[in-house]
């Protein structure tokens, strides 16, 4: 069974850092996501804001004609922005898995009641 995500024709990394941003330290970063939009951006932003060590989190889509999303993260001193991003992804994964389990359980219970 193949992956649900379509193959990336352009190849290379889908995630990179905006240039010129690394001089102010590890705590400020703007991440550039290729082929992503509000679906992932808003979810990530929500997860980042739940992290008390994140001081600023926001995402933007610079131009609708280009399939690019920028995510800006600023964290407290000593906590790298990349860790915040990784934690946000892990939290989102956990959250989504729990949602899926709840949904599947709810469907099973509904179908059992019906029969």
């Amino acid at each position: 069974m193949s992956s649900l995500l379509p193959p990336d024709k352009d190849g290379g990394n889908r995630l990179s850092v905006l240039e010129g941003d690394t001089s102010s330290g590890e705590e400020c970063r703007t991440y550039v996501f290729r082929k992503e939009n509000h679906t992932l951006g808003n979810c990530l932003r929500t997860m980042l804001l739940k992290n008390p060590q994140v001081q600023f989190a926001g995402y933007t889509i610079p131009h609708p004609s280009e399939d690019v999303m920028h995510l800006r993260i600023q964290t407290v001193e000593g906590y790298p922005a990349q860790s915040a991003l990784r934690k946000a992804f892990v939290d989102l994964k956990t959250h989504a898995s729990q949602l899926k389990t709840k949904f599947v359980t709810a469907v099973d219970n509904f179908e059992k009641e019906g029969s």
Binding site: T39, L40, T46, K50, S97, K102, F110
Partner: protein, 335 residues
């Protein structure tokens, strides 16, 4: 005149000329509810109809970004099979080739996309048994020799039932009837002498690429409405008040002294028309609100996959994306 309220109540209010308290107070440092307890988040199934193709369910306690992500994923990121390449050998009908080919692409197919691989770009249209589904459409319209029946023509209307599946390789053992979902979709109309002869190739794709690949007729959500009665309304006014809302939302109940009082039965089905604001005397009797964290989802599948399977697939896409990016972060930090 806007009311500025820092209340953490999770309801937005529908007033006569404005809607208040719509924002989510999500900025860093605001922890009205840090990581909601897992038992406060609920998913409840309300209705499953049409052999699993129509689904209504509730997501309670979740953040709007997650609910919206599910909706967006259902529309544009869950894959389906649809006709992509059309080889037209003969088309003497009135409909132009390109219009006809466009229509063929929009026909929903029953084939399960999970059984197929993604087709690589640049490979030939014929494809392999793993990534392409082939159909053929051959129709010729003739005069009806049987003068007595009402129809003067034979095969003048081309329906999806005229599509024939041409199994490739071992497809005939693995797939059962991957053809169109409905047999009576009208494709074209012919007259005697017109002929259509084409080969159709279906591949796996996502809604982001072309809307024909969207697995849902549509998927949408609305917030759960709430109606609060501020002061009792009786008799004539009660009848008028009940009529302001969608039928079944409010009803009249008899009181001890023989009068009739308006009561909220179930605000769920209210379509939020705000009709009550048309009546000067009834405007203040009710407060219309919506619960910001209670999403009522409606998912209607086009027929390929059941709605009850589509929602977990949408969440799987999100999980795969997270996995992809976690791996990229890990490999980049090793460099």
């Amino acid at each position: 005149m806007t009311e500025f309220s820092f209340s953490s109540k999770n309801k937005l209010t529908l007033k006569e000329f404005e809607i208040v308290n719509t924002s989510n107070y999500d900025f860093s440092g605001h922890f009205a509810d840090p990581h909601k307890q897992e038992n406060e988040l609920k998913v409840e199934i309300v209705k499953i109809e049409d052999d699993g193709m129509f689904l209504e369910f509730d997501m309670i306690g979740y953040d709007p970004s997650v609910a919206n992500a599910v909706r967006r994923l259902l529309l544009s990121d869950v894959p389906t099979m649809a006709i992509e390449k059309v080889h037209i050998y003969q088309n003497t009908s009135i409909m132009q080739d390109e219009v006809l080919a466009h229509r063929m692409g929009l026909i929903p197919l029953k084939a399960d996309p999970r059984l197929f691989k993604w087709k690589e770009e640049g490979t030939e249209d014929e494809g392999t048994e793993d990534d392409t589904l082939q159909f053929s459409l051959q129709v010729r319209c003739k005069h009806n020799p049987d003068k007595s029946s009402g129809d003067p023509y034979l095969d003048n209307k081309v329906f999806t039932k005229h599509l024939k599946w041409i199994p490739k390789g071992s497809q005939k053992d693995k797939l059962i009837n991957p053809g169109p979902v409905e047999d009576d979709i009208l494709i074209n109309k012919l007259r005697p002498g017109h002929e259509m002869d084409m080969k159709l190739f279906a591949v796996k794709g996502v809604g982001r690429d072309h809307a024909k690949f969207s697995p849902v007729a549509t998927a949408f959500y609305r917030l759960h409405p709430e109606i609060r009665i501020n002061r009792d309304v009786f008799d004539e006014n009660a009848i008028r008040l009940v009529k302001c809302f969608t039928p079944g939302v409010m009803q009249l109940e008899p009181t001890e002294d023989g009068r009739k009082k308006a009561k909220v039965l179930d605000a769920r089905n209210d379509m939020c028309s705000r009709n009550v604001f048309r009546h000067e005397d009834l405007k203040d009797a009710v407060t219309l609100e919506k619960r910001k964290d209670h999403f009522i989802f409606n998912v209607e599948s086009t027929g390929a996959i059941k709605s009850t399977e589509l929602v977990p697939m949408a969440i799987d896409v999100l999980l795969e994306k997270c996995e992809l990016y976690i791996n990229e972060i890990d490999s980049q930090s090793k460099e």
